[in-house]
């Protein structure tokens, strides 16, 4: 079997496993959080509880932009990448089922590629519908519905989030294939190191996914926190072409390293 056919087989097998794992149920609830928040905002507006009469209502487009930055770009995309990406190989090792995959007449790289594609489809199908629903609920809030005007932004957001998932997934696929406790390392990197590096001066930020991803976000970054102020001072946004190339390199390099690791590493199953 060639690499692509093998990867397609692994993809088919892994997609169902990923979607119906306990992890997906938990992450489904996390992804549903923004929808619940959006519904609450709509109800608050409709009932007049939250927005006092004779006061300007907050612009829906602004709230949507903040949700994209704070919930999706800064939290959900890295978390989905960490949880699913690190588990591509680590779960098989923990469940001691990796032997069944590696004893099949397929290349080991096909295993990681097939699982990575399943991760991408699974996370995209979880996250993007959530963004679309939030968009339609939140953007018409306040004065003047602007769905028509904001539609190109929605398309950019969907593309940007899919690219973010692809990049984080590739990085954490490598981490999961290489390290023994990948989830802890992944969470420290995604929620600790990466945001810290972004607000620090220097070139280290160029080694992060968020550095390239932020160029693709067309919304204004929320500026009411000390972290955001620091981020603005040391803010260095690469051009669009650099960001796209950077993300493509991260995906390619991450997958290549993950494939190489899986091909060469001997996984010792604990008894």
């Amino acid at each position: 079997m060639n690499l692509l056919t093998s990867a397609a087989r692994i993809f088919d097998l892994s997609l169902g496993q990923m979607l119906w794992s306990r992890r997906s149920v938990f992450l489904g609830l996390v992804v549903g959080g923004p929808i619940v928040l959006a519904v609450a905002l709509r109800l608050a507006e409709a009932s007049g509880l939250m927005f006092a009469p004779n006061r300007p209502r907050p612009a829906g487009a602004m709230i949507y932009g903040m949700m994209i930055w704070l919930l999706y770009v800064r939290f959900l995309v890295p978390v989905l990448g960490v949880f699913y990406g690190t588990s591509l190989i680590a779960d098989e090792v923990d469940d001691k089922t990796i032997t069944y995959l590696f004893t099949r007449p397929i290349q080991r790289t096909a295993v990681i590629i097939g699982k990575y594609l399943a991760y991408l489809v699974c996370t995209v199908l979880l996250l993007l519908p959530s963004v679309v629903i939030v968009f339609f609920l939140v953007v018409p809030l306040g004065r003047g519905a602007t769905i028509a005007r904001m539609f190109p932004t929605l398309l950019t957001d969907l593309g940007m989030l899919a690219l973010g998932l692809a990049a984080y997934g590739a990085v954490f696929a490598f981490v999961g294939a290489r390290l023994k406790r990948p989830l802890v390392v992944g969470l420290i990197f995604a929620l600790g190191c990466e945001p810290a590096v972004l607000i620090a001066p220097g070139y280290l930020k160029r080694a992060t996914v968020a550095y390239y991803l932020q160029t693709l976000v067309r919304h204004e970054m929320p500026q009411n926190s000390p972290g955001a102020a620091l981020l603005q001072i040391f803010n260095e946004v690469p051009p669009l072409s650099t960001s796209l190339i950077g993300l493509a390199v991260i995906v390619g390099l991450g997958l290549w390293l993950a494939g190489r690791t899986v091909e060469s590493r001997e996984y010792v199953l604990e008894q």
Binding site: L19, P56, A59, A61, G142, A145, T146
Partner: protein, 330 residues
């Protein structure tokens, strides 16, 4: 793939398809009913005072990326980079940082007018504040907002130049009075959307991506024109200009006069000008298309003049300019 996986994939794709389809429909066609279309104008109107005498809107991003703008730039290159100068002064790049702007003029009791521009886009408040401070501005807290105000501006302006961030990505620039009023409007809610006459006029416009509505009789009081000149001007109350800038520029100029007689007089004057323009442009083919597109209309107290300038007109201008600049062959 198991059945429930298939159901999940189908449901997920269905949500995406319906969402994107609806968005696409709203973007290209516009669906009536106020849910999908921008029926009541831009949301930044909440910062414009109720008694504004002039209200204008421009979708800067759409205009800046339009074909016709590129053609105009080629046909009439501007000497002196004003855009770069503006960026140096404020840290705002008009081409990439601004999405759209709403501008207004409000007549004040002392006969002057307070100007305000509210721009939506991507701005760095730290950078902008630092640049304005470099140019002598001072920062104060006004009703919970940081107001950056420059008092060192020419005397004839009559007021200070102020700037504040009303929301993330929303900056208000204008006279000190105008910007303070915009901040106050966040609490009072007495904004231009309560001005029924102006809002009705706005709703009646085919707005396009740039439009202006003004109350000429109110603006005139601020111009302090000599009575001899003021008496010669037609008695226009409201005027509006709506246009769409994409691969061509098309739009309508509309004026509402005090009575029908004034409207008829104005129509006669415009008709005369149109006839004169047709005569004058007989030998200028690049202008003929423009003049031929002018169409006079309107009934009762309304006079309307619609126009359409194809992009090719600017190409012709550019070609004429280039041939005029080319040194004669020896």
């Amino acid at each position: 793939m198991t059945t429930r996986t298939r159901y999940f994939v189908i449901t997920s794709l269905l949500v995406l398809t319906v969402g994107l389809g609806t968005g696409l429909l709203a973007y290209y066609v516009g669906v009536p009913g106020g849910f999908l279309v921008d029926r009541d104008g831009p949301e930044e109107l909440q910062y414009v005072p109720r008694d504004a005498a002039l209200l204008a809107y421009a979708d800067v991003r759409e205009i800046m990326t339009s074909d016709v703008r590129e053609k105009i730039r080629r046909a009439m290159p501007v000497h002196g980079d004003g855009q770069a100068q503006f960026q140096e002064q404020t840290g705002i790049n008009i081409e990439s940082d601004i999405d759209h702007v709403v501008a207004s003029l409000q007549p004040l009791a002392d006969g002057t007018t307070a100007g305000l521009v509210v721009a939506r886009g991507r701005f760095s408040d730290v950078k902008i504040e630092a640049l304005m401070r470099e140019h002598g501005a001072q920062v104060e807290d006004y009703n919970g907002k940081r107001l950056i105000e420059n008092h060192e501006i020419p005397q004839q302006v009559g007021d200070t130049l102020a700037l504040t961030f009303l929301e993330p990505g929303l900056v208000a620039v204008g006279s000190g009075w105008g910007v303070r009023a915009a901040i106050d409007l966040q609490k009072s809610g007495e904004n231009v959307t309560k001005n029924t006459e102006l809002m009705d006029l706005m709703r009646s416009l085919d707005r396009g991506n740039a439009w202006t509505i003004g109350r000429l009789d109110l603006l005139r009081t601020g111009w302090r024109l000599p009575p001899q000149v003021a008496n010669q001007l037609p008695p226009i109350t409201w005027f509006s200009i709506s246009s769409r800038v994409d691969s061509s520029i098309s739009g309508t100029v509309r004026a509402d006069t005090r009575d029908e007689e004034a409207a008829n007089n104005l129509r006669d004057v415009v008709r005369g000008f149109l006839a004169l323009a047709k005569l004058q442009t007989g030998s200028r083919p690049e202008l003929q298309t423009l003049v031929q597109s002018l169409e006079l209309g309107g009934t009762g107290k309304t006079v309307a003049l619609s126009f359409s300038v194809p992009g090719a007109v600017f190409d012709a201008f550019g070609a004429n300019r280039e041939s005029a600049e080319k040194p004669p062959a020896h």
